[in-house]
Structure formats: structure tokens, C-alpha cells
């Protein structure tokens, strides 16, 4: 609780990491966005007679993402968590005729999302090493997806944000369409339909904001600080909620998630469940909670209701399904609901929990989607009536599935515990009914997970089932990376310290880094009574 109290301080002054701010680069964030694009183009035009360089292409994609992770680690370590302002900012006039600037920057929630994107990116490439067909196109599209996710996270101009938000849909839909399972067409069209609807809502919301703010600039510093009437705030916030609900996804705009996560190749399922969907929560945080406090207060019960319906629906649907990948897809919706509950709490603690939950929820969702996809591939069946008693025959995957289940439920030692504690502590104060409903939904999900574990891992072995083998080294590594991330942040939320001192060893601690900017975002909600207007 001391740690939680420290997070909610209005002016957090955690100890900076030694050397924080020493390394600066005027284009660090641009590197994170454009290096994958450049490498994707390079892969696209690389000569590859009869697939001779397929392995090289996989290596290029892997080392590109690894290089990005290295840059990201520098950014994370050098991040000055005592500053509430945007960092690593880049600002260049782009299309001044309509007020577009190439403006990038990150604060605490941004660095958390970038870290998530980096980890998920590596896991996704590792999970894709088994791709044999059209390797060039696959890794090209995967790198473009990674670039668009990074771009949406670091964008500080709404035009740039829309550009990357919308751009993510095309490579992902093609990946599902080209490398997916038997129902890939349905999955891809659903993905495009729902995400298209969300993008449309986002564009309408942003353009309404742009027009109300005078039509001079798309910069978030202008748009999100514009003085709006509560009515306008609500209209714009509703558009943003629709956009976020299609992406996160939230009930009832979740229609794509089952098909996409069940039909997509494993690497794509990981990146969708882990990174691209978290952008929905990030959008809500940036545009509704941080920018429209009046709407944030008024719509918080709606957000809490959406969160409760999402978690409840996901749990019930997971209980009813007989397909392990469908079950994983439904369960991957649960962390999104918890994140939104934290935002609906409109309190500093709830918002901080929500930001941490984006990271932990992304890892947990990717882990459950990835482990179930890998398990079904290794066991040559997706049917829960066939899969039974697999723990002795696939011990690595069994352990990872257990960790995924525990992470979804927020068990101590794992990072999702901290996130869920913060979220529920914040939410029970301001949204008690919503928080209770989410807790009930979580209990239903726990039942579904228990049934999954009991049957698939510890049931009596099915003699008629096809042959089973444990995960390969690559599969174990990518799943282990996701599980390791959850364990590391769970064990060292404030980073490991040099023994006997308060100085961080090499990781300044995710909880410390994420606080930068949260106090600013939460400041309108600190007062006991909500303000009528900004």
C-alpha cells in the first residue's frame, strides 16, 4: 500500500535512474516508427530466388525488432520520470495548410505502451518463425504492423494518430487473410468491418474536435486542451468510446475478436491480442479521461457498464465454447474490461492501475492467445472434447498455460496483481456497482479457466486424440518472454535496487516510469466534486 500511495501522489518525485536524461536523440521516436518500415520495404524488394533467403528474411525481421527493443530500453532507462511533460519530443510542420504537424512524444503511459509493443513484437516474430509460405510478404506485413502500433503510441498530433491507427488494420487483415485458418476470410472481413467502423468514429470525433477548436491545428496540445462545453465533450467522447470499443474490444463491439484470434496465425494472434488492441484503452486515456474531464465524469458509469458487460460476457462465452482458441479469444477480452474499469474510476489510483493494466493485460492476453494457439497446433486439435490430460506430455506449455491463467486472474507475484489491485481499489470507491459486476465477471472467467486447466492439462488422457508434442524452443522462448515480463514486473514493480541503497540497478522500475504524466492526467479528478467545465 505504501507503494500505491506513492503512485497517487500529486507530485511524484521518485529517484531518477542514474544517468537519466544523459542520452538524448532528436529522432529517437522516429527510429521506433520508421526503422521497421524501411526494413519492411527492404525485405519486400530483396531478391529471393525460390525462397533461398527465407531464413535471412526471418532473421532480418527478428533483429530489426530486437534493435528496436534496444533503442526502447535506452529510452526507458533515460526516461525522466520526475518530469510531467512529454519527452523525446519531435515537432516538425507537416501540412501547415490544415494544421498538421509531425509531432511525436511520450509520457509515462506512452513509455509503458512502447515497452509492451516492443515485447509483443519480439514474441510475435519468434512465434512466426515456423511460417513457411510467402515468408517475404508475411514478415513485411508484420513489420508494418509493428511500425503502425509504435506510431499510434508516440503520435502527439491527431492526424498522425489517425494515420497510424488506420494503417494497422490493413497489414493485419492481410496477415489473417493470407496465413489464417479455415475461416480466415470471415475473420479478416470482420476485423476490417469493426476496425473500419472504429476508425470512422475516431475520424468523426477528431474532426468535430478540430472544427470546434477553430480548425487551426490537429496537435494534441491544442485539440485536447481546447475549452469545450460539456455537451461537445460528451459527443466527442462517445465517438472516441465507440472507436476504442471496436479496438479493445468491448462488448457489444467485439464481434471480430473470436474469429480473428482463433483464425490468425500464432504470431499475428499475439500481436493483435497484446499490442494493437491495447491502443483502444490508450485512446480512451488520451482523449476522454485526460482531455474531457466533464465527459469523463458523466460517462464513467457507461464505461464501467461496458467493462462489466465485457468481462461478464467473456467469462460466460468462454464457459460455453468447446474450441480452445475461441476460449482464449474470449478470455483475452477480460484484461481490456479491467483496464476500462480503471479508467471509469476517474481517480488517480484507478487511472494509474489502468495504465499498468494496459501493460499487464496486453502481456496476459497475448500469453493466453499464444499458448492456446501453440497448444492446439502441437496437439493437432482445437476441440476441448479431444484435448485432455496433456500436462505430462507437454510440460513447458502446461506451465505457461497455468501462468497465463493466473495472470488473467491477477494472482500475486505476477504484474497483473498490482494492476488489478490498483484498479479495483480505485473503482470500488467511485464505481462500486461496476467494480462489483466486473469482479463477478472475473469470477466467472476464473471458473472457465479452472475448467480449461482441469480438462486440458490434468484430465484423463484421451486415447483417441492425435499425437502430441511439447512446444519447440522458439515457442517456449516467445511464451516465456511474455510470462517473464509479467513475472519481472510482478516481482520488481519498482525495479531491482543496488543492495542497501535506493538506487535502481539497471531497471528503474515500470511503476516509477509510468507515473510521469499520470498526475497531470488525473489532476481534474482529484477534487472531491466534479467541475462542470474545464
Amino acid at each position: 500500500m505504501t507503494m500505491l500511495a506513492a503512485i497517487v501522489q500529486a507530485s511524484p518525485t521518485p529517484l531518477p535512474a542514474p544517468g537519466a536524461g544523459v542520452f538524448t536523440s532528436p529522432f529517437l521516436l522516429s527510429l521506433l516508427v520508421w526503422v521497421p518500415v524501411v526494413m519492411a520495404v527492404a525485405i519486400a524488394f530483396m531478391p529471393n530466388p525460390r525462397g533461398r533467403y527465407d531464413v535471412l528474411m526471418k532473421q532480418i525481421a527478428f533483429f530489426t525488432i530486437l534493435g528496436l527493443m534496444f533503442i526502447l530500453f535506452i529510452a526507458y532507462n533515460q526516461f525522466q520520470n520526475f518530469l510531467p511533460t512529454m519527452q523525446y519530443e519531435e515537432k516538425v510542420a507537416w501540412l501547415p495548410a490544415i494544421g498538421v504537424t509531425y509531432h511525436l512524444g511520450i509520457d509515462g503511459p506512452g513509455i509503458v505502451m512502447l515497452l509492451l509493443s516492443g515485447l509483443i513484437g519480439i514474441a510475435s516474430v519468434l512465434a512466426s518463425l515456423g511460417v513457411r509460405e510467402r515468408v517475404r510478404a508475411y514478415f513485411c506485413l508484420l513489420l508494418l504492423t509493428q511500425a503502425s502500433v509504435n506510431g499510434a503510441i508516440v503520435a502527439r498530433d491527431m492526424f498522425v494518430f489517425i494515420l497510424f491507427w488506420a494503417a494497422a488494420a490493413i497489414p493485419l487483415a492481410l496477415l489473417v487473410l493470407g496465413w489464417g485458418g479455415p475461416r480466415r476470410s470471415t475473420a479478416a472481413w470482420r476485423l476490417l468491418g469493426y476496425w473500419g467502423l472504429g476508425t470512422g468514429a475516431l475520424v468523426v470525433g477528431v474532426l468535430a474536435l478540430y472544427s470546434i477548436a477553430g480548425g487551426q491545428s490537429f496537435d494534441m496540445d491544442v485539440l485536447l486542451k481546447a475549452s469545450l462545453s460539456p455537451r461537445n465533450q460528451i459527443v466527442i467522447s462517445v465517438a472516441m468510446i465507440i472507436a476504442a470499443a471496436t479496438r479493445l474490444p468491448l462488448f457489444p463491439l467485439h464481434g471480430w475478436v473470436r474469429d480473428v484470434l482463433a483464425e490468425a496465425p500464432v504470431g499475428v494472434a499475439v500481436i493483435v491480442a497484446g499490442a494493437t488492441t491495447r491502443l483502444g484503452a490508450f485512446l480512451l486515456l488520451r482523449t476522454v479521461i485526460a482531455a474531457e474531464p466533464a465527459a469523463g465524469h458523466l460517462l464513467s458509469p457507461v464505461l464501467a457498464a461496458l467493462a462489466a458487460m465485457t468481462v461478464g460476457y467473456a467469462g460466460l462465452a468462454a464457459l460455453r465454447t468447446v474450441d480452445i482458441r475461441h476460449m482464449a479469444a474470449y478470455l483475452a477480452m477480460v484484461p481490456g474490461g479491467i483496464t476500462v474499469l480503471g479508467l471509469a474510476a476517474v481517480s488517480p489510483l484507478g487511472i494509474a492501475g489502468s495504465v499498468l493494466s494496459m501493460f499487464t493485460g496486453g502481456l496476459a492476453a497475448a500469453l493466453i492467445a499464444g499458448v492456446c494457439a501453440t497448444l492446439s497446433e502441437r496437439a493437432q486439435s482445437r476441440s476441448l472434447s479431444v484435448l485432455s490430460g496433456l500436462a505430462p506430455r507437454m510440460p513447458n506449455i502446461a506451465w505457461l498455460l497455468i501462468i497465463a491463467a493466473l495472470a488473467l486472474l491477477g494472482i500475486p507475484i505476477l504484474a497483473s496483481f498490482t494492476a488489478e489491485v490498483m484498479t479495483f481499489f480505485g473503482a470500488f470507491k467511485n464505481q462500486p456497482i461496476g467494480a462489483f459486476a466486473v469482479a463477478v465477471g472475473l469470477a466467472v472467467s476464473a471458473v472457465a479457466l479452472a475448467m480449461l486447466l482441469r480438462r486440458v492439462l490434468f484430465g484423463s488422457p484421451n486415447p483417441d486424440a492425435p499425437g502430441v508434442s511439447d512446444g519447440s524452443l522458439g515457442e517456449t522462448w516467445y511464451l516465456g518472454l511474455l510470462a517473464g515480463g509479467l513475472l519481472w514486473v510482478g516481482l520488481f514493480p519498482g525495479g531491482p535496487k543496488i543492495p542497501g541503497t535506493d538506487f535502481p540497478l539497471f531497471d528503474p522500475g515500470l511503476l516509477n516510469q509510468m507515473t510521469a504524466g499520470i498526475s497531470d492526467i488525473a489532476s481534474p479528478y482529484v477534487a472531491p466534486t466534479p467541475g462542470a467545465t474545464q
Binding site: L95, P96, A137, F159, I170, V204, S211
Partner: protein
């Protein structure tokens, strides 16, 4: 030096005539004839360079009949670039006549240039007809029956435009666009003006191929040679849109006489084009319907009757010109429906990339030229409070992107057709140094147009300002 500004027009017309005469009288030896497309593309690029260098000088010519302002500079530069890239990307083995195939895009570009610089109604009409006639000639080379249909449809459109122009002239007593605007500024909107404007815009809609008036042009374009189709879908439509923008600027003081009509047509085109593109599978009709949808966005920008909206439309029109004209040319002979382009990404990677980018740009997919243009128009629609039109436009774009996804799958994910099953209708485009360079240039233009759009959008904005818009 004053007339140096008109050098691009002179170069284009002279080149078109020379190429036609060289073809007719066989002046050139066969070896030299092989280099005609290269030479043509080079001269058009020189004309573009001259336009960008000398065209910045504002002035009027021939007693005020032609104006060189920022609008003219933008439109002329855009069509010259389009013509150069189109000539370079075309698979000339799939065309029916190289001399006429080279000359007609130049004449169509000249028509747009005349319309863009026209200061009066006569110049607008002349430019429009010239561009339309070039399309008819290109179609006639392969399908005289379809050319006749286009001629009849074009004739009807011309009649509507002429009647409309005549009524506008009779109402205002002035053929000059600036004069019309000055006279109209003092009058209230009246039915006597609204009806001729409706006729006029109806004729232009037929010429531009905007839904629901796209039927004639679209069917004809599908039967033409690749470059002929590009001319019908692209440059002819650009000429009509250029005339439409100039007329809208002249009538801007009484927007009530044209805005509702343009809004309805824009909505139909955006949604209808996107839905139709999703409904068809063959690549050329899909390109055509995507072009219809994007032309709807151009019309939507015009309907805002503000400088920002018209500037956005102009910027988008530049992107449209390049993508809609060069798209069918990149597709080449692949007229055998969707199977003809199965696996084209493997067999002809550069052309496939060009085709994919053309379609994505026409659908408004990020981060290509069409996306930036459509978002610029969308911003102006939001500013003018036209959220219904904006929503419909976004719906059309989503449908268009879904359609393009289908084509991308065929291009890059499907296996190529077996050679034994590949008939003449599914023949692969010939690979030449020029066509490869043209496809590369097209990819660069369509990707860089928006990403490095700072000066281009600035020029489009100045173009709208030059029309006297606020």
C-alpha cells in the same frame, strides 16, 4: 519572356502533333520509333519543369482570356506529371497505336491546362471538350462501338453544359468568371439560376463519371485499351472536376444554387463507388469504381464552398489524376478478370506494387496520397458542419479499403496462374526499362505526394485562394 508561361502548353501540343504526324507518315525509322515513349515522357517532364519554374509568375494573356495563377499552376503541374508518368508506365505492347496512344494523353492534358487557365466560360468549355475528345479517340482505336456510345453520352453532357453556360451567361450578362461572380454577389439565389446550374453540373457529372452518372463512361472505359481506360477514368474526369471547381468558385456568393445538388451527388458517389468496388472482383472495374468514389470526395470538398474545402479538393484531385490515369495503365492487358492478376506480386513485383498503391490511394488507405487528400476534405467538411456527408464518405472509404484488400490478397497471396491457362486476356505486362522506371516513379509519386505534401498542399491552398475563396 512574358509568354514563357505558355511554353508548356506549346510543348505539349507540338509534341502531340509531331507524334501523330510521325505515326501517320512513317517519318521515323523503326528503331527510332521504339524510343518515342521515352522521348515523349522526357519532353513532358521538361514541360513540367518549365511550368514549375515559369508558372509562378502571375499574369493574364490573350486579352484576359487565359489566366496564369496559382490554381492554374497547380492543375497544370498535376496533369503534366500525370501525363509523364502515364506514358512511362504504359505497357505499349498492349496499346493499339503508339503514336495516337502517346498523343491523346497529351491532348487530354492540354484540355485540362486550358480549362485550368480559362478566365471565361468559353475557355472552360473548350478545355472540357478537348479532354473528352481525346478519350473518345483512344476508345475508338479498340472499340468503335463503345467510342460511339461515349460520343453520344459526351454529346449529351456537352449539350447540358452548353445550355447551362448559356443560361448563366444570359442571367449575368457576363462570360467572364470574375464578372459572373461580381454580378451574382449582388443577387439573391433564384430558381432562374438554380435550374441552369443544375443542368450545367449534371453535364459535368456525366463527364466526371460521378455516380449516378458514371454508367456511360465506366462501361466504355472497361472496353478500352489500358491507357484509354486511364484517360476516361482519369484525365477526362479531372477536366470536368477542374471546370466544376472554377464554376463553383464563380458561384460561391450564392452557394444555395449548387451546394445541395453537389452534396447529394457526392454522397451517392462516395458510398456507391465504394460499395460497387466491393461488389466486383475484376481489377479494372474495381479501379473504376474506386475512382468514382474518390471523385465523390472531390465533389464533397467543392460542396463546402470554403477555401479550405476547395483547397482540399484540389489537393485530392492531383492525387486522383495520377492514380486513376496510371492505375489501368499499370494493370496492362490483364483483362481476364481476377485470375489474370493472381500472384502478380511475384511475377511483376514493381507493377504489382504500383497497382496496389494506385488502388489503395483511390480507396483512401493510409499513408498514400488519397488518404491525405480525403482527410483534408474531411477536415473541411467537419468545419462546415457537414457531418452526415463526412460519415457517408468514411463509409465509402471503408468499403473501398475492403475492396482493395481483396485485390491485395490476389496480387500477393494467391499463386500465379499456370502459363498454360494464361490466355491473351490474362497476358502479363511486358517488362521494359521504361515501364519499370515508370512504375517505380508512380510508386514514389503516390507515396511521397502526401508524406511530403507540405509544398503541394500549400500550393493547392494558394490555388483555392487564387479563385477568390475565403
Amino acid at each position: 519572356m512574358k509568354y514563357l508561361v505558355l511554353l508548356p502548353e506549346t510543348l505539349v501540343v507540338a509534341l502531340a502533333i509531331c507524334v501523330m504526324l510521325a505515326g501517320r507518315f512513317a517519318w521515323l525509322p523503326a528503331t527510332a520509333r521504339r524510343y518515342l515513349p521515352q522521348a515523349t515522357a522526357l519532353v513532358v517532364l521538361v514541360a513540367l519543369g518549365v511550368e514549375l519554374w515559369a508558372g509562378a509568375t502571375v499574369g493574364s494573356y490573350f486579352g484576359g482570356a487565359l489566366l496564369q495563377d496559382r490554381f492554374a499552376l497547380f492543375a497544370k503541374a498535376a496533369v503534366l506529371l500525370t501525363a509523364a508518368v502515364a506514358v512511362a508506365t504504359t505497357d505499349w505492347t498492349a496499346e493499339d497505336s503508339i503514336p495516337l496512344g502517346l498523343a491523346m494523353p497529351l491532348l487530354a492534358a492540354f484540355g485540362v491546362m486550358v480549362a485550368a487557365s480559362a478566365a471565361d466560360l468559353l475557355g472552360l468549355w473548350a478545355g472540357l471538350e478537348l479532354a473528352g475528345a481525346a478519350g473518345v479517340v483512344m476508345v475508338a482505336l479498340r472499340r468503335p462501338d463503345l467510342a460511339l456510345r461515349l460520343l453520344v453520352a459526351g454529346g449529351m453532357a456537352s449539350a447540358l453544359v452548353l445550355v447551362g453556360l448559356a443560361f448563366v451567361y444570359a442571367t449575368t450578362g457576363n462570360p467572364n468568371l470574375a464578372g459572373i461572380r461580381a454580378v451574382i454577389g449582388n443577387e439573391a439565389p433564384a430558381l432562374s439560376l438554380a435550374i441552369p446550374v443544375l443542368l450545367l453540373l449534371g453535364g459535368l457529372a456525366v463527364r466526371a463519371g460521378i455516380a449516378p452518372f458514371h454508367v456511360a463512361g465506366l462501361q466504355v472505359g472497361l472496353g478500352a485499351s489500358p491507357l484509354g481506360a486511364g484517360l476516361v477514368f482519369g484525365l477526362s474526369a479531372v477536366a470536368a472536376a477542374t471546370v466544376g471547381i472554377k464554376l463553383a468558385a464563380a458561384l460561391v456568393e450564392i452557394p444555395d444554387v449548387y451546394v445541395p445538388y453537389v452534396q447529394v451527388v457526392a454522397a451517392l458517389a462516395m458510398v456507391g463507388g465504394g460499395a460497387a468496388a466491393l461488389a466486383v472482383r475484376s481489377p479494372r472495374p474495381r479501379l473504376a469504381y474506386l475512382a468514382v468514389s474518390q471523385m465523390g470526395w472531390v465533389a464533397a470538398g467543392v460542396s463546402t464552398h470554403f477555401r479550405s474545402g476547395i483547397g482540399g479538393s484540389l489537393f485530392l484531385l492531383g492525387a486522383f489524376a495520377v492514380a486513376a490515369t496510371c492505375g489501368p495503365a499499370l494493370l496492362g492487358r490483364a483483362e481476364g478478370g481476377e485470375p489474370a492478376i493472381h500472384g502478380l506480386g511475384t511475377l511483376r513485383p514493381v507493377r504489382a506494387a504500383g497497382l496496389a498503391l494506385a488502388m489503395m490511394s483511390l480507396a483512401g488507405a493510409p499513408p498514400l496520397a488519397g488518404f491525405f487528400g480525403e482527410l483534408a476534405v474531411a477536415a473541411s467538411l467537419a468545419q462546415s458542419g457537414s457531418f452526415v456527408l463526412l460519415g457517408l464518405g468514411l463509409l465509402g472509404s471503408v468499403l473501398g479499403v475492403a475492396a482493395v484488400l481483396g485485390t491485395l490478397r490476389v496480387l500477393y497471396i494467391q499463386s500465379p496462374l499456370e502459363e498454360s491457362r494464361r490466355g491473351a486476356a490474362a497476358a502479363l505486362p511486358a517488362v521494359t526499362a521504361l515501364s519499370t522506371a515508370g512504375a517505380v516513379a508512380f510508386c514514389i509519386v503516390i507515396a511521397a505526394y502526401g508524406v511530403f505534401g507540405y509544398p503541394i498542399m500549400g500550393l493547392a491552398d494558394q490555388g483555392a485562394e487564387a479563385l477568390g475563396l475565403r
